[in-house]
């Protein structure tokens, strides 16, 4: 069956009679191409991540700045000028002679306002005809870190963080335990029905969750588990297709020689798994752990249906949604909460990205 896609002569049109050695050096063209492609990649990645940048700037903006038009793109406060014990806002005022000047608004009026020249505060106020509301403020960069502190208190961040972390860690332990055992069973033992069962396992990846959720929910409700963490934790201890597949593929790349040597020395199957296979498998163990941690951290639907109404046991994802329902008029707070929800999985990914991407490669390519 080989050879289906091997290059056939003629597939690529006429053969050119050009010896490899006669080709001119292409270094000059290559570096221009490198520059162009790298430039395109930089622009693409900047556009791709720009929503994150917008979120960061909004998280640091005051609600005042967000609700006004014509404010800077960066977090900033209007500059004021202290005059006779008052803080007057500085505005950019176009003067009759065609120039503009930065003046402090002294007495705002609908048709005309008076201004103080900060450079010459002792002079009498200048009267300016027109609506001061059309004038631009002078801004100075000012990050409003207090948005994060506000969100911290408003959504009870420590509690949500604890809940999220506890659910993620416990279900990750369950996943590691169960998937290691199941993957070991599929990778190292021959038994009747093995390939059928393995196919069944893989098929569950393609099964829509809707077709199992209704009875599952109903049973959990009858057991009194709805409104607790149990529906989020217990299924993790019964393995899942993705992680079993990942671990099995990894185990199968490890030669069986050491297993056999250990078996001859009298080691039982558990002992071989623990002392022979696992010490060689830590990259896949880390990959599964980080996969499941991120999955559990980001899960929304499970906590949504099983912890509805129980604020005390909810996760960050749900807390953020609830917060958005209340504070949607304060985008600065929403974006601060959003960043506080995503920071931990993002940092976890950056620290472990090698294992992460390798794990995806194993599940994706080898199917």
């Amino acid at each position: 069956m080989t050879g289906v896609a091997l290059p056939r002569a003629g597939l690529f049109g006429r053969r050119r009679v050009a010896a490899a050695g006669s080709r001119p050096p292409r270094e000059r063209g290559d570096s221009a191409r490198s520059f162009l492609l790298t430039f395109i990649a930089v622009v693409a990645v900047a556009a791709f991540l720009s929503p994150l940048l917008r979120s960061i700037t909004y998280a640091l903006k005051s609600t005042d700045q967000i609700t006004q038009a014509g404010t800077p793109i960066y977090p900033a406060d209007p500059v004021t000028f202290s005059y006779q014990g008052q803080d007057l806002p500085l505005l950019v005022v176009p003067l009759p002679d065609g120039t503009t000047k930065t003046l402090a608004l002294f007495e705002p009026g609908r048709k005309a306002s008076t201004f103080i020249d900060p450079a010459n505060a002792a002079a009498p106020p200048i009267t300016w005809q027109g609506s001061w509301r059309t004038l631009d403020h002078v801004w100075t960069p000012a990050p409003h870190w207090e948005n994060f502190a506000k969100v911290w208190d408003l959504i009870d961040y420590p509690r949500l963080l604890f809940n999220t972390a506890a659910i993620a860690v416990i279900s990750t332990i369950g996943t590691l335990l169960s998937c290691t055992l199941v993957a070991y069973g599929f990778a190292r033992f021959r038994f009747p029905g093995r390939s059928l069962l393995f196919t069944l396992l893989i098929a569950t990846i393609f099964l829509p969750a809707a077709v199992t959720i209704i009875p599952t929910y109903t049973v959990f409700q009858k057991l009194g588990w709805v409104g607790t963490w149990l529906p989020l934790l217990v299924p993790a201890f019964f393995a899942n297709a993705y992680d079993v597949f990942l671990m099995r593929q990894y185990f199968m790349t490890i030669p069986t020689d050491l297993d056999e040597a250990a078996a001859i020395d009298g080691a039982g199957p558990f002992r071989i798994l623990w002392s022979v296979l696992l010490p060689q498998s830590w990259p896949v163990v880390i990959a599964v752990a980080i996969f499941h941690l991120v999955y559990a951290w980001n899960d929304f639907f499970g906590p949504l249906i099983y912890t509805a109404g129980k604020v005390d046991i909810q996760t960050l994802a749900l807390g953020l949604q609830r917060f958005n329902g209340i504070h949607f008029r304060e985008p600065g707070l929403i974006q601060a909460g959003t960043l506080m929800t995503l920071i931990i999985p993002v940092v976890a990914f950056l620290l472990t990205q090698r294992f992460f991407t390798r794990g995806i490669v194993i599940t994706g390519v080898e199917k």
Binding site: G13, S55, F238
Partner: protein, 315 residues
Amino acid sequence: MAAPSVARPRYLPRFSGLAWRRARWGYVFIAPWIIGFLAFTAFPMVATFAFTFTNINLAQAEPLRFVGLDNYKTLLSDHQTWESLGVTLKFAALSLPVAVGLPFLVALMLHSRHLRGPGGFRVLFFLPYVVPFVAGVFIWNGMLNPDSGWVNGVLEAIGISKPPAWLEDPTWIYPGLVIMGIWGIGAGMIVYLAGLKGIPTDLYEAAKIDGAGAWASLRNITIPMISPVIFYTIVLAVVEVLQYFLVPLVLKNGTGEPGGSTLFFNLYLYKNFFTFQNMSYGATLAWLLFAITLVITLILFGTARRWVYYAGEAR
């Protein structure tokens, strides 16, 4: 494709005493999954199917009874079902080319030997994949805001005076949701990239000697060689898009706004179950979704023979 038939079925070899002992260990180790599969997949699937012939509705306290095909009759006459299915299919048609094609394009770019610092780009393009989806929804909701969003800011800056209202507009919301979805290209991109790295370079060298340009190499080597990866990505993307509903659920609180445009099939299913508490009808919708997914997946697997190439293997 027919393998030479063997008289003895494959799984009835002479299992010696020792082999049986090993086999028993195999069952012991896979037991957690077997139990989980029975409890969380097999039993619920059968139960869901059984529900479709009953009248389980937590909102009304009718006694449980067998109603035959009533739920299926309701299904046929329920225009909301078919409208929501239309919404899902419309969105699928728009989002699938992006979900399958964009990660491929990015992977091609990252794989190019002309790119400097591919590792850094790979990490950055993957990064949003780990952003919790609720957080992603709120970030993009701001980004696509008609007044304060940067997308329209850029569009206005390049001279488009009336940019779309995106998520507030019943037509533009679909491209808006597709744009939101591009943050999920990470996994597909990594898988494509690994596929690209697995293509032997001598194929390209041979093609070059044959006078093939970049386009011919892409069409005649790259795409056939990574067709299994493309196939895998298409199947997963189809299964996923048919179940799409969480983003509109969070974005519009499940109202289907604007103008019913976000009442996706799965959202309607979810509402029947959790809001109206009509378990039986929800179960009927779930089986419809399952049937549609199964049929499309089987069709895809049927076409795979013609265009998916598995190196050196008869699958």
